[in-house]
Structures are given as C-alpha cells and as structure tokens.
Point group: C2
Chain length 267, copies 2
C-alpha cells in the first residue's frame, strides 16, 4: 500500500468511529507495516484533519493507549447547519394550528440530524458522560447520532412500560405546558447507578419532559452533566430546568399570516 492509501484509510476508519481508541498496532497489522511507518502516516492524517478543520486526532499513552478522532465543527459548518435548520423551520406550511408545528420531517432527516448531532457532540465532548438519554419518539435520531459521535450508549426513556423492557421504574410528571399528568418509565437494566448522562431531545417548551427525565434518572442515582435540545420555545419564559443548550429558539407562531419566528442560538 502507498502512503496516500494508508493515510486515507486511517482518516476513514477514525472519522467513521469517532471517539474510539485504536492502538497503533491495529494499523500495523491492517497495513502490514512497521510502527515507524504507521507513526508517520498518523502524523500526516493529523495534519490533514486539522488543515480541513474536521477535527483532531488525539494520542493517549499507556497500555490502553492509542489514537482517536475527536470531531470538530468549523464555524462555516456550524453556520451552514444552523442556517439550513432555520430556513426549513421558518416554512409557514408547518403551522398545524394551536401553536403546534410539524417537525417530523426535520427530526427524521438523516443529514439535518447529523448536523445537529455534530453541534451537540462538539458542545458536550468534555462532559465526561457515560450515556446519552432521550425520551421517545422524535428525539431519538438526533440523540442516537450524538451518541454515535461521542461513542456512548443511547438510553431511551419510554412513555409506557413495555413487557420487553423487563422491570422498570416509572414516574408521573406534569407536562410544563398543559399541566397534564403524564407517565414515563425506564428499564432497570438501562443504566448503572452513579453514572453521568447527557439529555438530548428535539423540542422543549416549559421543560416538563426533561425535568421528568432528570427525576427518573435520579431514581437510579444518575447525574445530568448536560442538556441539549434542537428547538427551545421562548414561551413560557420560566422553564422547569435551569441549564440547557438549544440550537434554535422558537418565537412567535403567527397562524393567520403563516409566519414562524426562528432564532439561532449563537452562544
């Protein structure tokens, strides 16, 4: 194999398995090449990825050491992702009445959710989380992609306790917006006590669901180290949770003139 081919292969393997550590030996065996050769290849791959602003290769020492790829979103990419989301969401045809928007097409769009997940993964890369947690249904794709990029397991809180979940812990909670009582449940097999989690969801109004997820995880002694939502509505101003990171803010939904106010979160 030529140098170009080996570097390309390293870039492909590392970027396709973000945050997974590979030993240099892995590549020596794959390429049937000496350690010194692979070291030079890795240096070239490092330069390439940072020149392209795609991310960086980190080297860790020790017996379990090796190299891993930490994705990075360039400012240009960030701009492009947020602008595309904004423009799609501003389409007045989404208005369903009652202030509701149709967003399923977006939340299930692979390319869009890949972009959103890149932003969350960048934001929460150093959080030390053990899990990504979401609640069914529309948040699953973006939460799954974030989990993939951070190389963490995804945990999905269910609305009902299913027989296939085994024994579960359930809570009742108030939805923030309508003050209805709803139920959510989590399998006892899903998480281990004492671990840390990031919550990722598609939409937050008053934060009732996310407060519920925090409570149900609290039953397992799992601590929250970050919360990301694709869209947070500006109303109500008072939320049930304090810290959260939205990609976009939803302002006024004008049913009559079919206008939707969407703002980027540029912080």
């Amino acid at each position: 194999m030529k140098r170009t081919e080996r570097v390309g292969a390293i870039v492909r393997i590392l970027t396709q398995h973000p945050n997974q550590t590979y030993s240099l030996n892995h590549f020596c065996q794959l390429f049937q090449a000496a350690k010194s050769t692979v070291s030079e290849d890795v240096s070239a791959a490092k330069q390439l990825l940072s020149a392209m602003q795609l991310g960086r290769i980190e080297t860790t020492a020790g017996a379990k050491g090796g190299i891993r790829f930490l994705p990075m979103v360039s400012e240009t990419d960030r701009d492009e992702i947020l602008n595309r989301l904004c423009s799609k969401l501003s389409d007045g045809g989404r208005i369903l009445g009652g202030g509701f928007l149709y967003t399923s097409d977006l939340m299930f769009d692979p390319d869009m959710m890949r972009g959103a997940a890149e932003l969350f993964a960048g934001r929460f890369a150093s959080s030390g989380a053990d899990y990504i947690v979401t609640i069914e249904t529309k948040g699953i794709p973006v939460a799954f992609m974030t989990a993939y990029m951070l190389n963490l397991p995804l945990v999905v809180v269910r609305r009902e306790s299913k027989i296939s979940e085994g024994s579960t812990v359930s809570i009742n909670y108030f939805t923030g917006s309508s003050d209805r009582i709803q139920k959510m449940s989590l399998s006892k097999r899903a998480v281990e006590p004492g671990k840390k989690a990031i919550i990722i969801d598609d939409f937050m109004r008053a934060g009732g669901s996310i407060k519920g997820i925090i409570d149900v995880l609290g039953e397992f002694d799992v601590k929250i180290v970050g919360t990301g939502v694709v869209i947070a509505s500006l109303e109500p101003e008072k939320k049930k949770i304090q810290e959260y990171y939205p990609l976009l803010y939803l302002g006024e939904v004008d049913d009559e003139n079919k206008k939707i106010e969407i703002f980027r979160n540029d912080k």
Copy 2:
C-alpha cells in the same frame, strides 16, 4: 494543499455523506485546484476505497452529474458484525420470561446499529426506494442509520396519532403473535403518493406490525420494495408477509437453562 491531503479530504467528505452526489466543481472550489488535478485526486480516492474494500466511488455524467460514494461491506466486516450481534444476543441474561428478550441495549447501541445498517444499506442499495419506513420505537436507530447511508428520508409510523403529526391516516391491525388489535397511524404529510419504500425494523415474530405498515402505506399508494429486520424469530413458521431479509434468526429460548438459540442469516 498536498495530493495526500486532497485525497484524504475527498475520502472523508464522500464517506461521511454516502450516496450524495458532489460535482467535481465542488472540490475544485474547496481545494482551489484545477479540474484535471481534482480528477486525478478522485482516481486516487477510488483506488484507495476499493483497495480497502470500503466501497466504491461512482461517476455520473450530465448536468447534474458528479461523484458519489456507495458504501460496501467486505465479507470480513459482515462476519464481524453478525458475530458480534450473535454473541451479544446469546447472553442468557437477556431472558425476561414469557419468551421475551431484553434487546434495547443492542437496538440503541450506536456501533452495533451502524453495523446492522451497513448490511441493510448494502442489500437495498439498488432498490430504487424513496423512503425508509419504520414503526416506533426500537427500530428507529437502525432505520435511521440505514436512511443515512442510503441518503433517504426516514418515515416513522406512530402507535398513536399525536397532535404534532397533523392529520393522519390510521389503521387497526392484528398483531400476529397475540392476536390483539393494535393501532398505527401515519401523518398525511409524511409521504407522497406513488413513491417506493423500504421497511426496516428491529424484530419480527409473525409479521403483524410489518403487514400493518404495508397496509398503512398502501393507503398512500406507496409500494414496498424491500423489508429488513435485525432479528426474525423462527416461530411461528407461517408469517403474515412473504419477503423479508433478517440479519439473524431467533430459535428456541430456554428459560430454565438460560439458553438462547441465535442463527446467522448467511444468504
């Protein structure tokens, strides 16, 4: 930029956006390089990807032409993915009683579902589908990843019609295994009539849910061109659908001795 860097960048961009067509001009602008240079880079990227058995770059002619990456799963990768799934699924600790298995950890595992989706994407690459369709909840990650790899939108059939789905079409159907009546619904905005779809789901026993999805899509005049499931149980032998492609077969679940029979589908 050096040749090595440009080839690495092409490999990265194409493999991260499978089945998306990029014009040569796109790369000329990105690298600020001449068309002849980029053509040579693309040839090198082609050789690299096929040498690594990762997939192939296809060139399409015409005004909308360009290059796109079609992922390929090598026999070694396929073996590894199926063996890992088998070994995880055979763990007797999954038995919940009543013949049910706990599989949420697997179906929500990013790396596992990435592997499963690669196999589905390879299988259905030439199906001409317009959508990937699944039903909530546990099939969403693998269906989403398959949609990502085939560059198709994901459509999720819901168990209940939610207000945020707008007007929906609902059907009642018999679950094949327990002969209970269940409901599923699909937003009228989710699909266009006359299109083609691939169904992807996590588990199939008698095929009642998948038959339901076919029926609800039939209401929209959407035709099924393929069905993939991660696990199909051998029992009951008579299924409600004829054609499906399982990655694994589930045989006997021996509750007493904590043994689970899992077979690879090597066809």
